[in-house]
Symmetry: C2
Subunit: 486 residues, 2 copies
């Protein structure tokens, strides 16, 4: 069939090509030339856009070299399994069991160790359970007549698949066993619908389990031994990074508003810092998936098995609430900058110092909390810092509470300020106030995290070090350590 087609095409060429060019053909030639130009244009456009695409893709890897390493790890695992099966005498090609090992590696290998373990365990357990149930039903069905055998198998496949599909909708099951249930449905149907006898099935099941097991072992070995990426550690670092971003945002936003004279001088980095909160606004999905995967990870680095990862989610939620408020603060500030209606200068100047201090103190609390999470030690100075923050809140409130503001020109000016003009300043102060309340919430969440997670880590560390010096023993509870000079 193919050879015939090729022949006709060749014949066409032989007929049309070796002619003397006529006017019509020259026109055609020009047209083709124009088309050719268009094609080149299109290609060069594609080249340019695809080179930009490649550049962006490359940047993705340069920014986080672990992505490059992950790719090499996947290639390595696949090569290992190939070598394993090539060197075995029982190698049977695609139809044989090697297929399941390759499939397992491709499907299971995830970026984080937690992800790989989650999928691996789910796959093994689901394959095992579904296989057992399917063999059981097969055995039951084989005792009856051929018609009822088909009915029993058909009905049970329908029912189990439907029920298992429904279970996948339940949020807590979806978070932890979604992949397992998928594999359950798959394995059950494959085994139930197969026409094999029970003893042949058992043999197949044993083969398949062995191969899946080999695939998972290679996956886990490569995943854990070669530069592992732990979901738990990622979550830990993400929380710290986000908290620092929030701290910078608060400080910079307040400074941006009150450092009025130097506007425009605000350099790029300070602008960038004041927008850092935006990362926190939509962090929920990432945090939840990391926490879900972290649950599967064994002890690693400073994290024990069953480290309270859900507490990180609580910290994340508290930070998000903080970020919502900072977002509003930021937009209030920007909308005033764009509006004609400015706050009265003297009022702003008067509040300036107190508000700048409040911004700084709030930011300090968040930074101290971040450091406390980073070092996995309860901060000894956090109480003092929160106290200072509350002092700053009171200072702002005091200034706003005095009926007439002190200051050279304000004595007579204040009573006649229309509230409208003072609106932004007051809103900024009020939002700062609100932000401090939410920072208290973050501090509470971190305290809970510290009680459940850091205490045992500190204990373990102290037992390990067997008190090399007295300072360490005083550290977390005493009044020394990283207490600032107050």
């Amino acid at each position: 069939m193919i050879t015939k087609k090729e022949e006709t095409r060749e014949l066409e060429w032989r007929v049309t090509v070796p002619h003397k060019p006529s006017a019509q053909e020259e026109h055609n030639f020009e047209q083709r030339f124009a088309l050719w130009h268009q094609l080149i244009d299109l290609l060069s456009l594609n080249m340019r856009s695809s080179s930009r695409f490649m550049k962006n893709a490359w940047k993705l890897g340069v920014d986080d070299p672990r992505k490059f390493i992950h790719c090499i790890k996947v290639g390595l695992a696949l090569t290992l399994v190939s070598i394993f099966y090539y060197t075995r005498p029982l190698y049977q090609g695609v139809g044989g069991t090697a297929m399941w090992a390759i499939m397992t590696i491709v499907v299971i290998f995830e970026f984080t160790v937690g992800g790989t373990i989650y999928k691996g365990l789910n796959r093994v357990m689901a394959t095992f359970i579904a296989g057992m149930i399917a063999v059981g039903i097969h055995w039951l069905a084989s005792k009856s007549s051929e018609t009822s055998e088909h009915i029993i198998i058909g009905v049970s496949a329908f029912l189990l698949s439907s029920v298992a599909t429904f279970v996948r909708f339940i949020p807590i099951v979806k978070a932890r066993f979604d992949y397992g249930i998928l594999i359950f449905i798959l394995t059950f149907n494959l085994v139930a619908v197969s026409g094999y006898r029970v003893d042949r099935l058992l043999e197949l099941a044993q083969q398949r389990l062995t191969t899946v097991f080999i695939g998972i072992s290679i996956c886990l070995l490569v995943c854990i031994l070669v530069r592992p990426v732990w979901a738990g550690e990622e979550l830990h670092l993400l929380t710290i990074k986000n908290m620092r971003k929030l701290a910078d945002s608060i400080e910079e936003s307040v400074a941006e508003y009150f450092r009025d004279g130097e506007k425009g001088d605000g350099n790029e980095t300070s602008m960038q810092n004041s927008r850092g909160y935006k990362c926190v606004l939509n962090s929920k999905a990432t945090e939840e998936s990391l926490a879900n995967l972290a649950r599967w990870e064994p002890m690693h680095g400073r994290f024990s098995y069953l480290h309270p990862w859900s507490q990180y989610l609580r910290v994340g939620t508290a930070m998000r609430y903080c970020a919502y408020c900072i977002e509003t603060l930021n937009v209030c500030i920007n909308s005033e900058n764009e509006n004609q209606q400015k706050a009265p200068e003297h009022l702003k100047k008067h509040l300036s110092n107190a508000c700048l201090r409040l911004g700084l103190e709030s930011s300090n609390v968040l930074k101290e909390l971040a450091s406390s999470i980073e070092s996995m030690k309860r901060s000894s100075s956090i109480e003092v810092l929160i106290g200072q923050m509350n002092d700053a809140v009171e200072e702002v409130q005091n200034i706003l509470s005095t009926p007439s503001l002190e200051g050279a020109e304000s004595k007579e000016a204040i009573p006649t300020i229309p509230l409208m003009e003072a609106m932004t300043v007051i809103t900024v102060a009020s939002l700062l106030n609100e932000i401090t309340l939410r920072i208290d919430g973050v501090a509470d969440a971190v305290e809970d995290l510290a009680v459940t997670a850091f205490q045992s880590f500190e204990d373990a560390q102290q037992t390990d070090k067997n008190k090399p010096s007295n300072e360490l023993a005083v550290g977390p509870d005493g009044q020394e350590g990283n207490l600032p000079q107050v």
Copy 2:
């Protein structure tokens, strides 16, 4: 092996059971009885918690019966493919090709049509492309000596797997072709590592493609014909629902704050309404995944193929910004309720009417926008409603701009109000002001959506109906239709 074990167990029983009970044994018996009790307690606890779990799971389905239907659809598709293969004479059991059809259905069948099409197309294309490349490399390798054959295949498998894994990290590729690339890696490795000759490979590939194709066809038929769930429609409805929730939240929050006398009377539903915005805060992930899947869907209902789904994401973002501000507003209101420091009653009362009106007008704009999306017609009254909202903003600003407020007791009181006391009222007014700006943003996004999506829909509708009455022709552009009496 197994039978031997069973035998020993049985023997043990025969030895220990038929004794006369001694004191020791009675003690044991009691202990066992206590254990038994504990076991029963544990079981009943488990029963209770699992019955609660079952109840919650059932509620999940009752709240959205499409979930039940989805489960039945999955069962149906699996049954269909089983029947198809049972009735075929070439049925070969699990080892044969039927396996790929079952596997395809289990893995591809998603809740939404878009999800199923996305996975189906990705699977077919990836299987085809990877198969072609793998056969090509095989053919190339088979021309050389056996050692270099293994090296060529091994190196190409390693390289292609690594590169493909890296490509999965690129966000835009991840959103649209993640599953396809997974299948590409899988198929390529299966074919490349297999020991088959090229002609046998082509035969296998053809078989596999046919089976995958059968699986996908059954999936799509069941998915589209039996009560389909369209991702696009879901996104459309979600946007409308979220916008209505925002509208209710604004209205109820403002009313809650200024309707001070009736506090405590605020019934459950109004509390629930004022918290509706919380759904919008974290809607980003859902919206993005729906928009990604909707891209794959063919024309359905009122939505054409290539409906501008990304515009819905813009509307969603605008709504989220609105929600952040409402969140801050809500918490400001609640924190005042908890605080001792109340706003001066007369100031609050004075602002009350204007602010309540502003809340109502803002809410009306959002509701009108939601109706406009729902009916897929550009609203003729939206300009007027936005005008009214802006009037309300000006009214609030005017009240705040007058140096002394009008009113019976306020003439002398205002100049001595400490700013601190007025803080919450002013913040609420300021936030309402900010919310209206963000509603403008939502209106802009909806307008963009209307220009790209609704215009063509309206045109099509008008052509279809061939002007059955004059009213319809006037509808979207004229001053009639759903214009409120102003």
